[in-house]
Symmetry: C2
Subunit: 361 residues, 2 copies
């Protein structure tokens, strides 16, 4: 029995209700039912409707289920770019999204910021030829966030380009203004506290139209996971392929729990826990802020520099059944990353901070 | 509590040990652990090594984990076809694989057989320009199988082309001769008795070389799930993206169970259950063989014509907590499809047949 509490950023701690939903899934034989039957259609509809309520998604945006946010990066480029994309890159995940565009034979413009830094949209000029603008709400590698007020500035200067916001490790926390973005997406193993293996893609009609226009021009936009294919099955609450039925069911249940709790409560608790943790980091002898600009510090993925190596930090936390995430890649030793996701309660965050104060000052 | 026993062909009945492995997954927090950590690498290795033993995969073939067999169709065309593919099409799934090639802008040759019919390789001439030959071991839509002796004939006449065998709803039953094929693949919700959301792709070095050669020519072969990307992570027992960790774990456990039982026992039981069921169909007043050629009748996906509609068949079976699959698409009413997968025991198949005799004669 593993009794450790994981404050890691992904995969992350399961939402506390997940074990009971897994039992229901076994009892109701959710792993066995047909993905072309009525029961699955209801599960799909519950998950999509629940997300629409939770994330306040307008009725004319579609919600599709794919296998990961990584897959969604690929599908965005395939479906919505004929020639040119634009990317804000300030960490490993936004960089990988940018590279996908090149790997698919497109021309990709990039605005770069150093690891741990963010963007100031007033200073950014997106080339007029860019068909899509790719923004990352939350760089899970560095803990830098792009505030919604900054995201919204891109639309003002770029009326034509489609705007995509990678909201992995963010949603349901950010309350996006959908009139300013065309699409957002996330994977369920972060803030939704579920096992990995499912990505959720929210798109508006402009994205659909773009994919259709590429098809009409005779361009290849993929196969089973093109936007038209996803919509053709999605409007019947189905997926083109046999999907991860089990996880769509678990998502529908966790979203139901989130909606019962209320997204505003989740947001307030996230802010409270983030403030507690950042206050401690600011006063600590061992830890210090990894992100200098206070306005760009993520409230869901909290990154700190550490004098003790991350391995030593975890070694000292281990007897108390706690673990934090190490830094990303070359920051593995010198940073820690701490998930402030809905699965972590205020009490659990208090306990972690108290223990860190005691162990590391 | 759903106590029904599903003889449906996919998703299908879970292997009986799955519920206990799900409990272990919860206790060991498999949904929480990092996909970049040692524990996941061991799970990956156990699953791959176990499959290598079970399916007698040569040591120079790679085993990769993707999200579905549908995805693998797409990756095959992207990674291994510059211009031209060849497909044997005799049902909905082989047809979809063929269509993928066109949708990705390739020229696809096709040898067609009617629904319920199969192929006679001696009569087939694959165009010399075809870079890959796509065969379907088991058409899950119609219940037609391609015997291994027939699969093996393609290599003799086509030394250069890469040979791919779709083994969905087949493996671990067929004992492929890997010297005659370059790749095979399946999804886990069929004969492996697992929840859907995972595809397994077995490829040899010739496939790897082909992908590398396309890359060198400056062709796009995809992004995170190109063969070189899968290998680059796979050799460290990792995946490029955050995968369906939970299902890879469950697969590793079920494969362990299969290996304990022994693949030969599984094959013998499959043959025994198939014989019992086909004997009944041959003698039934209501059911009749859907596949005329006895040599082409699938032993794992058993399809029968039915005088009573498939819905009525299931209505009569329902009080006894049993369900069979309906026919595929336009055969929905007039055929039934019965899974003869390892999750169904000899006793359970006997019970189904006894009940069908009683109800339908």
């Amino acid at each position: 029995m593993n009794k450790k509490l994981y404050f890691t950023v992904g995969p992350a701690e399961l939402y506390p209700t997940v074990p009971q939903h897994v039992q229901s899934a076994l009892e109701e034989k959710i792993g066995v039912i047909s993905h072309r039957g009525k029961q699955f259609q209801e599960i799909y509809k519950n998950a999509a409707d629940g997300l629409r309520t939770l994330l306040n998604v307008p009725s004319d945006y579609h919600i599709f289920f794919l296998s990961s946010a990584t897959e969604i990066w690929e599908r965005i480029i395939q479906n919505c770019v004929e020639s040119t994309s634009f990317h804000c890159v300030n960490g490993s995940f936004s960089k990988r999204f940018y590279e996908f565009s090149n790997e698919l034979g497109k021309k990709a413009f990039v605005e770069k910021a150093d690891f741990g830094k963010g963007f100031y949209p007033d200073k950014i000029n997106v080339p007029a030829e860019a068909e899509i603008i790719c923004l990352t709400y939350n760089e899970t590698s560095s803990g830098v966030s792009m505030p919604i007020t900054d995201i919204n500035k891109f639309r003002e200067k770029n009326k034509e380009a489609l705007i995509f916001v990678d909201a992995v490790s963010g949603l349901p926390f950010p309350a996006f203004d959908y009139s300013k973005i065309d699409s957002t997406f996330f994977s369920v193993q972060k803030c939704f506290g579920l096992p990995a293996g499912l990505g959720v893609w929210i798109v508006n009609q402009r994205c659909m139209d773009k994919a259709e226009s590429l098809l009409k021009k005779g361009k290849s936009i993929g196969t089973y996971h093109t936007l038209p294919s996803l919509l053709s099955k999605g409007k019947d609450n189905q997926t083109p392929e046999t999907p991860n039925v089990w996880n769509i069911y678990l998502l529908s249940k966790v979203v139901e729990d989130f909606n019962k709790k209320g997204v505003e409560t989740i947001r307030k608790e996230t802010e409270l826990k983030a403030k507690m943790l950042y206050d401690y980091i600011g006063s600590s002898q061992n830890f210090s802020y990894a992100v200098e600009d206070v306005n760009l510090r993520s409230l869901t993925t909290i990154v700190a520099n550490t004098k003790l190596s991350s391995a030593e930090v975890n070694k000292k936390l281990e007897p108390f059944d706690m673990a934090v995430g190490s830094g990303y890649s070359s920051y593995k030793d010198t940073q820690v990353r701490i998930a402030n996701f809905p699965a972590i309660s205020v009490e659990q965050m208090e306990k972690l901070i108290a223990k860190m104060k005691e162990l590391f000052n």
